[in-house]
């Protein structure tokens, strides 16, 4: 197991997960969202080829109201 931060919350996850597997493991059901790892955007096309590493900071953002 490795420790990562998901939206500021520390979580233990299996090793060698890619982003697609992480999102499924976390049970994200929001339809529209985008992902950044260590403050760098990861495009949806790269989810399967991007492996999560120990200590990664993952941000998953979705639409909200804004001015």
């Amino acid at each position: 197991m490795i420790k990562v931060s998901v939206n500021g919350e520390i979580k233990e996850i299996s090793e060698n997960l890619n982003i697609k597997e992480l999102i499924e493991a976390l049970d994200y059901r929001t339809k529209g969202f985008a992902v950044a790892i260590n403050t760098t955007f990861v495009a949806i096309d790269s989810y399967e080829e991007t492996t999560i590493n120990n200590g990664d900071m993952i941000d998953i953002l979705a639409p909200v109201q804004g001015g």
Binding site: N7, G8, L26, D27, Y28, R29, T30, K31, G32, F33, A34, V35, A36, T39, T40, F41, A43, I44, D59, I60, L61, A62, P63, V64, Q65, G66, G67
Partner: protein, 270 residues
């Protein structure tokens, strides 16, 4: 029956779109989602601002909001609100492009938490990168002419100077500065963003020759947001018509408007 004049051509262009409304509206702070939806529709706005925030797993929160916005069928302008560096803003813009399916971005890089004043250095830096990446950048900036020049230099076709601090409702703090930007950049699309508190502020911005105004709190925090949305719709139109009509020159002294010829007898000996 009164005849209602229309603004020249009745349309304007921004970011590759042809629009009729010159009001851009925010989607935050309304008493309820239903109220937001009705206010946006009543305002006649064809551009609505939205944002991205961390989302909890599970329920799919955020879907309801996004579905309402999509159902309005108007242009979506995502913002980078809350970012404090060019790097953060660039990442947020890239994420917004994927989620919202638009290359439009309201670039907002805050430099001071007290007055939410934009950071001009980071804003220009982010704008340059984003334009190279194909974004249509709507930069939120102060009313500083030189910052506007720097933004134009890196390729911004749109500039959004503040009227006053975000959410303050103070109106146009420095109309002279706003006018200087308008005079110096006739070819750019200029939008007064932030600080507008009441319809007369929007009229004033439009009379200066600004292409549009962007506001949120003034409508959402009104006692009756839907009615206020209607008021702003007319205010923006009135201001634009006023600008296009050509405002009279100010005079130092009084000048009678009623004809002096044919004055009645009691003026004969004066």
């Amino acid at each position: 029956m009164t005849k209602h004049m229309q603004t020249d051509n009745n349309t304007w262009e921004i970011g590759g779109k042809t629009l009729s409304s010159r009001l851009l509206i925010g989607s935050a702070l309304y008493p309820s989602p239903a109220n937001m939806e009705e206010a946006i529709q009543t305002s006649g706005a064809q551009i609505v601002t939205v944002a991205l925030r961390r989302q909890a797993a599970g329920e799919g929160a955020g879907n309801d909001f996004w579905n309402i916005i999509k159902s309005l069928g108007i242009e979506v302008l995502p913002n980078t609100a809350g970012c404090h560096s060019a790097k953060e803003a660039i990442t947020t813009a890239q994420m917004a492009r994927e989620v919202f399916g638009t290359n439009w971005i309201k670039l907002e890089v805050i430099g001071d938490q007290y007055n939410l004043q934009p950071d001009p250095f980071e804003t220009v830096k982010a704008a340059e990168v984003l334009i190279k990446e194909g974004f249509e950048v709507f930069p939120y900036t102060t009313d500083d002419l030189v910052v506007a020049k720097r933004l134009a230099d890196v390729g911004c076709k749109i500039i959004m100077p503040w009227g006053s601090m975000i959410g303050s409702g103070k109106g146009l703090m420095n109309p002279d500065n706003l006018l200087a930007i308008r005079k110096q950049f006739p070819e750019l699309k200029l939008i007064v963003d932030a600080g507008i508190g009441k319809p007369s502020h929007a009229v004033q911005a439009m009379e200066l020759g600004y292409d549009a105004v962007l506001l949120n709190s003034a409508i959402a925090l009104a006692h009756d947001p839907v009615k206020m949305a209607d008021a702003f719709k007319y205010a923006v139109e009135a201001g634009r018509l006023g600008y296009e009509s050509g405002v009279m020159q100010k005079r130092e002294f009084a000048s009678a408007s009623t004809p002096t010829v044919g004055r009645p007898f009691w003026h004969q000996n004066t």
